[in-house]
């Protein structure tokens, strides 16, 4: 896919070899670039699978009344859309970026554990395929929401054990990926690449990897308890046997809250990498960015019950989780201020990666604002489980994580393929996405405040107009993303011409990946590079 042609460093006595021929190259590869490419392509495919489910949801919600799907299937769609997007699209895409970029950013020849790297990718594919297979099982796919709350999820038909096993596989895959990232960053940095010289993308992924190792086993434990409750007569979550359904929610959100940061911290990292390049200025407050990321990661472990303000927490719990959640605004604010200060008095140009990154800062901040509103526990008694929260987390995921993934694509495609993408179509893609994503999600704030609950296939008439607007936005947004596929294919085939090694003006000041040729050779940094003095520190 990447059109990477092995450029052997013939003068090395080290016997490196190029990729295998044919399909085997992809199946048995241990090369970080090949595996990175596979993760990215897989993530993109799943983005369209999850997106199709979103469009089924938005079609049904286009007008009041039930037109297209059965309510049970609608519930399956909301559930599967979330699971596919989280575990099939966003997480794999960031793992793909980590695979491609971390070794190149720290001057390492490959990931530390290349065979495990291959295994974690194929485990992911197996896990997602198994999850997708549940759609065709008797009783349908899981339909209790991606949170898989009991007792509802225990009413799933034949699909339940398969979905649980799929979660186990996805978890193992994530843990292996995380171990690999940590081992690589701790052991494979080029001499002179101290921790505080690492690009922020590497830093944020290091912290993300620790989050993953901490939380995935918790999720695996929670779903295993579901399994034994359903099949082995345990009563972890069944009051009749002395259990408590709310216990599941505590365990799930102990996983679930850090999980959403797993999707946003690497996003922060890429934004912090791209913005300085196009502002032609060093990143403002490098050290505070690192500390803020660590602070957000730490806080993510102690705020979980803000997802549960209405389950009947004791008053001390309400107050504690409200205060702790509010605190997240401080490090997050620091990040937003730092990005703004990085742009301040810069020499900005607005190529597609920069456009997506600026839109990310603005729209993610809007998601942050609604997050702050919801941290206020009493107000959350109104917002909870309405479209207001749907709008909130989509603002922090779509124009944040997805926009930054798109930005990464445009930013690094020339390095990956050796060709420049078509800037005009890139900008068209940006403007269509940036406008439609707001038509799609902004009205959902109104719907939520006006009283529309989430996860309903049909609604009262007063919600009709904004739902229609939202659905129109969804279709424009969804179909605009096909432009990205076109651009990727076009760029691989030659794009608008050959890219230089540096690609972006003075980019080599900002990262080691811009010091190797474009396309990046199959093996890079087989001898450690000399670390260029970086502006930060």
């Amino acid at each position: 896919m990447t059109a990477v042609v092995a450029e052997h460093d013939d003068h090395h006595d080290h016997h490196d070899h190029g990729p295998e021929k044919g399909i085997l190259r992809w199946i048995i590869t241990t090369n970080h670039k090949d595996i990175g490419t596979m993760y990215l392509v897989f993530g993109l495919i799943m983005f369209f699978v999850g997106g199709t489910m979103a469009l089924i949801i938005r079609s049904e919600l286009f007008e009041p009344g039930l037109q297209f799907v059965d309510p049970q299937f609608f519930n399956s769609m909301t559930t599967m859309h979330a699971l596919v997007m989280v575990f099939g699209a966003v997480m794999p895409a960031f793992v793909g970026l980590a695979n491609w970029m971390i070794p190149m950013m720290i001057g390492a020849p490959d990931m530390a554990l290349p065979r495990m790297n291959n295994m974690s990718f194929w485990m992911l594919v197996a896990g997602v395929l198994l999850l997708a297979a549940t759609l065709f099982m008797e009783g349908g796919a899981p339909a209790g929401g991606w949170t898989l709350y009991p007792p509802l999820v225990l009413q799933t038909g034949k699909a339940l054990p398969f979905a649980i096993f799929s979660v186990h596989m996805l978890g193992i895959s994530s843990i292996m990926g995380a171990i690999n990232v940590i081992a690589t960053i701790f052991n494979m940095r080029a001499p002179g690449m101290t921790l505080m010289k690492m690009p922020l993308f590497v830093w944020t992924w290091l912290i993300t990897a620790f989050l993953l190792i901490a939380i995935m086993p918790v999720f695996a434990g929670a779903v295993t308890m579901l399994l034994t409750d359903r099949f082995f007569d345990t009563s972890f979550f069944n009051a009749a046997g002395g259990g408590d359904p709310v216990l599941y929610q505590h365990i799930f959100w102990f996983f679930g809250h850090p999980e959403v940061y797993v999707m946003i911290l690497p996003t922060f990292g890429v934004a912090s990498t791209i913005i300085p390049v196009f502002a032609r200025k060093p990143l403002f407050g490098y050290a505070s960015m690192v500390y803020a990321t660590a602070a957000i990661a730490f806080l993510s472990f102690i705020v979980w019950a803000h997802h549960m303000f209405t389950v009947g927490l004791p008053i001390a719990g309400e107050l504690y989780f409200m205060y702790a959640t509010m605190l997240i605004a401080i490090p997050t604010g620091v990040k937003v201020f730092n990005w703004t200060a990085t742009m301040w008095k810069g020499e900005m140009t607005f190529e597609t990666p920069m456009l997506f990154s600026i839109a990310f800062v603005v729209l993610f901040t809007m998601g942050g604002f609604t997050g702050l509103m919801m941290s206020v526990a009493p107000a959350d008694f109104q917002y909870h489980d309405t479209y207001f929260i749907v709008a909130h987390f989509h603002y922090t995921l779509v124009p944040a994580s997805i926009f930054i993934l798109m930005a990464s694509g445009y930013y690094w495609l020339p390095k990956w393929t050796g060709n420049m993408y078509d800037e005009r179509i890139g900008r068209l893609h940006f403007w269509l996405s940036a406008i439609s994503v707001n038509i799609l999600f902004f009205p959902q704030h109104f719907l939520g405040l006006a009283g529309m609950p989430r996860r309903i296939p049909d609604y009262a008439i007063q919600f009709a107009d904004w739902n229609m607007v939202s659905s129109i936005g969804a279709f424009i947004y969804g179909f605009s993303q096909l432009l990205f596929v076109y651009i990727v294919i076009d760029t691989i085939r030659g794009g608008t011409g050959k890219a230089t090694a540096e690609v972006w003006e003075d980019a080599s000041k900002h990262g080691l990946e811009w010091t190797v040729p474009s396309p990046a050779p199959y093996h890079t940094f087989t001898t450690p590079p000399e670390i260029i003095p970086t502006e930060h520190v």
Partner: protein, 405 residues
């Protein structure tokens, strides 16, 4: 045409970043009708304005920079990359803002928690997919289901939901409460987790199976307040609304009295025409059965059995009555269904063209009763209506659904 125009207007206004104050839309949270809901509304507006203010400052700076500090305008990049003073300032100011928000928020949390010293208690049980209300003080107890018009409209594609008043937000029996009275609610659930939300009251609370949550309200002014279940609870989660009617104390007392009389009244055992039996049966079916067995009686393959052509439904009528009253592991027991409703239901499911069954019989309320049940109603059996007896004698086991054609 009007619709398209409205839509266009919305799109234009939205892209301009403006809200529209059109009467058809609610854009903001409602103030509600309780002290707590007002408190929450004020908190919401406070935090909203703080966000707007910070947003203007941050985005303003950013856009100023984007317009002026660009290469195309010949701006040269400065090379600063940190400033401890600025960084300390933008850490401390947000902290102070958060403290300012936390103070009124804490007060509201404490107010929400004050469930003690209530004047009356209502126990709310969430069930798939309706609410069950029990007034613990007066003993009034009833179920509240989605109203028939909405039930039909969302199941039959030829009915336009826009023609149904309060589509999906109307129930057959609303919860009635007195105004200016402190009401304690107890929440629990029978099957899965539900959540009871009426925006005008200012809060929602989860109903967890096997546990009891509480919350309180005191409604300031009479009115009809509507809400919905807000915790995904399965296939018909979107179809279990809540309607609360708040009325003056005297009216409320009269309502309770009337309802209690109805609740304790004897079932209507008089002979009904076939048409009225079918009509009553349809209503009972739409309330209690349609969620699983569906409007066409075909059920859902793999989930809920079909009634159309089912031998259980079209077979022996006494066995069918027993089955409906006993329930199964999946189906609730309809033991408390009054005889007249049971008779209507049985007649309906055996004969309704909509369900595709055509046994060609009818069941009168009297004949839906067992001897024991009849004796409960009429301790002196001689007082029972003639219809319940055969040739002046009670021989219920011999009474079968009468063939009518």
């Amino acid at each position: 045409m009007k619709k398209t125009k409205q839509l266009l207007a919305c799109l234009v206004l939205m892209t301009l970043g403006l809200g529209t104050a059109h009467a058809d839309y609610t854009l903001n949270l409602m103030r509600g009708v309780t002290q707590v809901s007002n408190e929450i509304y004020d908190l919401h507006m406070l935090v909203l304005w703080i966000c707007v203010f910070i947003g203007i400052a941050v985005f303003g700076t950013m856009f100023y920079s984007i317009f002026h500090h660009r290469k195309s305008k010949g701006h040269k990049a400065a090379q600063f990359h940190e400033n401890t003073t600025v960084e300390i300032i933008w850490t401390i100011i947000p902290t102070l803002i958060l403290v300012a928000m936390a103070i009124p928020a804490t007060k509201a949390v404490i107010d929400l928690d004050k469930v003690q010293d209530s004047d009356m208690t209502i126990k709310v049980t969430g069930k798939q997919w309706y609410w069950d209300y029990e007034y613990l003080d007066s003993g009034l107890h009833f179920e509240s289901h989605l109203d028939e018009a909405s039930e039909k409209a969302h199941r039959v594609s030829s009915i336009d939901p826009r023609s149904v008043p309060n589509y999906l937000l109307n129930v057959d029996k609303p919860l009635v409460v007195p105004v200016k009275t402190k009401i304690r609610f107890l929440f629990t659930a029978a099957d899965v987790i539900h959540s009871w939300w009426v925006p005008d009251l200012g809060w929602k609370k989860d109903a967890n199976p096997g546990f009891v949550n509480d919350a309180w309200t005191s409604v300031d002014k009479p009115g009809v307040y509507r809400g919905q279940c807000t915790e995904l609870c399965g296939r018909d989660h979107g179809f279990m609304p809540i309607v609360v009617i708040a009325m003056e104390k005297e009216q409320y007392d009269a309502w309770v009295k009337a309802e209690l009389e109805k609740q304790n009244a004897l079932p209507d055992l008089s002979k009904q025409t076939r048409a009225s039996l079918l009509l009553k049966g349809e209503s009972v079916y739409l309330t209690n059965c349609v969620a699983c067995h569906q409007i066409d009686g075909k059920g859902i393959s793999g989930w809920y059995p079909a009634l159309s052509g089912s031998a259980k439904v079209t077979g022996d009528v006494h066995q069918l009555i027993g089955f409906v009253q006993a329930g199964t592991s999946k189906m609730p027991a309809f033991k408390k269904l009054p005889a007249d409703q049971l008779a209507g239901l049985i007649t309906y499911i055996r004969n309704a063209p909509d369900l595709g069954n055509k046994v060609g019989d009818e069941l009168q309320a009297c004949h839906a009763l067992s001897l024991d049940e009849l004796e409960d109603i009429f301790p002196d059996i001689d007082n029972a209506p003639e219809l319940c007896k055969e040739n002046g004698e009670v021989k219920l086991d011999k009474v079968v659904a009468e063939k009518t054609n």
